[in-house]
């Protein structure tokens, strides 16, 4: 099974998903991220999806859940780099990730975190 690396950047965590996500990997990632938030006390997370070429309902649910769960633990998550093709597919699936903050790329994701956290 693949493991998605989670980097620490000051008070934030940075994740760049580079592999095809199978269900196991997604579930493992959910667990790893929450664990890492717990250990580091991170207040913000950027998950970059630039290299992801497909998000189906399962992965969308895992992502949405991880955002809500992190929120409960006091960490704001921003999703960045969702590709146009992926966005259109999500819209067709009826998945809008309504309460999830988004940004164009990692850099703007970090800016967004700063704004959201009022830092």
């Amino acid at each position: 099974m693949k493991k998605i690396p989670i980097l620490k950047l000051h008070d934030y965590l940075l994740v760049s998903i580079q592999t095809e996500i199978d269900d196991q990997t997604a579930m493992q990632f959910q667990e790893d991220l929450l664990q890492k938030i717990h250990v580091t006390g991170a207040t913000g997370v950027v998950i970059d999806l630039t290299s992801v070429d497909m998000i189906d309902s399962f992965i969308a649910k895992v992502l949405g859940d991880v955002v809500t769960m992190s929120d409960l633990m006091g960490a704001t998550v921003v999703l960045t780099g969702i590709q146009p093709a992926v966005a259109m597919t999500l819209i067709d699936l009826g998945i809008h990730l309504q309460n999830v903050p988004t940004a164009l790329d990692i850099e703007q994701g970090l800016v967004k975190l700063h704004q959201e956290l009022g830092a």
Partner: protein, 289 residues
């Protein structure tokens, strides 16, 4: 037999060409090519007949045929010029060979027709294919141009883009709008896009639905869509239909939308006077030292 017919045709090519040219001339009047100058018509005819002969000789020499059909497309001549031309060639050739043969029986005639058909058939197929192929190419180019026209994206300044929509929005166009919108956002790295619907005559549930979907997709890729150009009657329709636009920033005019966009990207319009004052301050501070 075939070789014999070919020999007759090539030995008398000048005469056959002349007969062909004469017949083609008569087709010109009151026809598709009537507006064409005589010189151009004649030179094209010559080229055509050369193509025919070289194709018979080489059993279809593709690139000559290709060049010729492309030329016809560029001239804007119709397909019937090709089919008429080959039809006339068939008739003229058969007439010529028959009139130069002493003993004629039905086998001879059928062999002759078969031979001539075999010469012209591949040519007709190839020319028509080339011709329609080039046409399709042109049409598809035009379609692309039209698609771009129907959903243009204008980067007005760093991080701010405008998409003015004009005309009716159906499902097909809505898809295109969304694709252009998202690709444009990525290309121009736009933090804010203004979708201007001033020019959309009717906003019903379907159109509103498409617009909302586009705005949602824009949000997913990490940008913000501001809907501008909401006329009074559109505001009424939206509320009466129970469409919820709460989640999206909207403005009545492009102008208002643009200042909202500036605001969102942390910018402001600074009057020149302020700049003057800044410069004045700088000069003042300089002279103090």
């Amino acid at each position: 037999m075939d070789t014999k017919f070919k020999k007759i045709v090539f030995e008398n090519s000048d005469m056959i060409v002349n007969m062909w040219m004469k017949e083609i001339e008569t087709l010109k009047d009151g026809n598709y090519t009537s507006s064409v100058s005589d010189e151009l018509f004649e030179s094209t005819n010559r080229e055509f007949v050369n193509v025919i002969f070289s194709s018979i000789q080489h059993r279809g020499s593709t690139h000559v045929v290709e060049d010729f059909s492309e030329k016809l497309i560029n001239l804007g001549w119709p397909l019937s010029y090709i089919t008429d031309g080959l039809q006339v060639f068939r008739r003229v050739t058969i007439d010529f060979i028959l009139s130069h043969t002493e003993r004629i029986d039905s086998t001879y005639i059928s062999e002759l027709i078969r031979s001539v058909d075999l010469w012209t058939e591949p040519l007709i197929r190839q020319l028509v294919n080339e011709y329609s192929g080039s046409w399709e190419h042109i049409v598809s180019l035009q379609r692309v141009a039209l698609q771009e026209l129907s959903a243009p994206l204008i980067p007005v300044m760093d991080n701010i883009t405008i998409m003015p929509l004009i005309g009716t929005i159906d499902t097909e166009r809505a898809k295109l709008i969304m694709e252009n919108l998202l690709d444009g956002v990525i290309k121009h790295n736009s933090e804010v896009v203004l979708m201007d619907i001033t020019g959309v005559p009717v906003v019903d549930t379907m159109v509103a639905h498409h617009i909302i979907q586009a705005a949602e997709a824009v949000r997913l890729i990490g940008s913000t869509c501001i809907l501008v150009g909401i006329r009074p009657e559109i505001a009424q329709t939206i509320v009466n239909l129970g469409i919820n636009l709460d989640k999206f920033p909207t403005q009545s005019s492009l102008k208002k939308g643009f200042s909202a966009a500036l605001n969102m990207t942390g910018r402001d319009i600074v009057e020149n006077q302020a700049k003057h004052k800044q410069i004045q301050d700088m000069i003042d501070s300089l002279s103090r030292e």
